[in-house]
Amino acid sequence: MRDDEVPQEGNATLGGQRKAVYARAADGRLHLVSSAGWEVEEIVTRQAVDEFQKLAEAARQRVLAGESSALEFHMYRMRMDLPLLAQATGLWQWRVRRHLRPAVFARLSAGLRCRYAEALGMAPEQLERLP
């Protein structure tokens, strides 16, 4: 990649930040050049962001339909999945999966609620609400 090939088309997912990439100067030496972003990166980053949004939205519909607990929505909203939430809380996956059932979630102890809230970085009382 030459200096003048460093992508500067902008990448919305960088939020206005620029990154440093190596490119070849006229004398053939590699050096760091500031890049405003590459569309390719934007596409693949958006793909991952969108996937979580899609999962969160589907979860929201299930919560509204009474098929799932709000925990599932918050899990995807915080870009986690079942294995990660289980690791973050230190619970078995089957327990977390069980807590995604609305009836079980409603009876959840205060201690477990705190554990989920802590792992998801939110207040325990927000846990059962959808924004």
Partner: protein, 332 residues
């Protein structure tokens, strides 16, 4: 007596962080030199380690490899500390900062508030340096190697980032040098580091590491069902490019860093052959970029989704890298 820390933006977090730490301790080495000298270039396709349900693809050696690899050539003594509970981890960081130390930390990108929202995924091996603390607000002053300027980070956020759970959990890891690093014996250290990289890329006993890993990944691409499971196939190929470009700097980026290292080595050793090899590696890096571009076009639907075509590109890359590292070995 505490020296002001100079922040420099780098292309990759770990090599950038170490380069910054070393410069702060009186040994200015470029990011590329740090990366090459620690033999950090690699390729690994790990189908068993899942991140959000998709396999891990790495274009460099695992976290902490760079830091550890530099200890011998630089006669550097690095201290690593991990913590069982967050409170003691925070206390220790404050102690070190109060003593004027600049401290390396492993963090999760997701919990760092200054990161762009769209890049905040649960990736646990992001390296940043703490270089001070604002006495009023209690915010930490961080040098994040991939960010342009020094940033501030509130204490609760940093604590969360340091004690995130999951794959590669940082456990509050702190690291800092405890002696003054020495400039290496270049004539010995550089060839040794290159030889190690050729070994990692060519002779790995595991089929998923090195150039063999690229072929293994190509096979996984060929097995994707683009007709019946198009969504899964798109996520799978996207993940590979994401690892290549977003997290750290990825395949192309790492190849460029290593090429810069080869150029520096050519000068230090007076061997122009490494400069010629650097040229070839830059071309290989460009081909990785073309692979990324072709993949992105398929994800967006600008080209029809044909994972087999991408697999062919991967195989071509594997062949080129095999030849490249064999020639590098010959040149030593």
């Amino acid at each position: 007596m505490t020296r002001e820390f100079v922040h420099r933006q780098a292309s990759h977090c770990e090599s950038g962080a170490i380069s910054g730490l070393l410069a702060h301790h009186g040994l200015p080495l470029s990011e590329a030199m740090v990366f090459g000298l620690s033999s950090a270039l690699s390729f690994a396709y790990l189908p068993i380690v899942k991140i959000n349900g998709l396999p891990l693809v790495a274009y460099r050696m695992p976290p902490r490899f760079i830091i550890k690899g530099l200890q011998k050539p630089l006669q550097l003594k690095m201290r690593f500390e991990t913590f069982r509970d967050p409170a003691s981890g925070e206390r220790r960081l404050n102690e070190l900062l109060a003593a004027g130390e600049v401290v390396g930390m492993q963090t999760s990108v997701f919990w760092l508030p200054y990161m762009p929202q769209d890049l905040r995924f649960h990736f646990n091996a992001h390296n940043v340096l703490a270089c001070g603390r604002d006495p009023q607000s209690g915010d930490y002053r961080l040098s994040d190697p991939v960010v342009e300027e020094l940033v501030n980070c509130p204490a609760p956020d940093l604590l969360r980032a340091r004690f995130a759970k999951g794959v590669l959990a940082p456990k509050g890891l702190l690291y800092y040098p405890v002696n003054r690093p020495q400039a290496p014996d270049w004539a010995r250290a550089l060839p040794a580091a290159m030889r190690k990289t050729t070994r990692i890329m060519l002779d790995s006993p595991l089929p998923v590491i090195g150039v063999g890993g690229i072929r293994w990944l190509a096979r996984a691409f060929e097995r994707l069902d683009a007709d019946r499971q198009a969504e899964h196939a798109r996520m799978f190929v996207g993940q590979v490019v994401r690892m290549q470009e977003e997290i750290g700097t990825g395949g192309a980026g790492f190849r460029f860093i290593y090429a810069a290292f080869l150029q520096e080595s050519a000068d230090l050793l007076g061997k122009p052959v490494f400069g010629e090899l650097a040229e070839r590696l830059i071309d290989i890096g460009d081909e990785w970029r073309e692979f990324a571009l072709a993949t992105a076009r398929m994800i967006r639907g600008r080209d029809p989704l044909r994972p087999a075509l991408l697999a062919a590109r991967l195989r071509a890359l594997a062949d080129r890298e095999t030849k490249f590292f064999r020639d590098l070995r010959q040149a030593l």
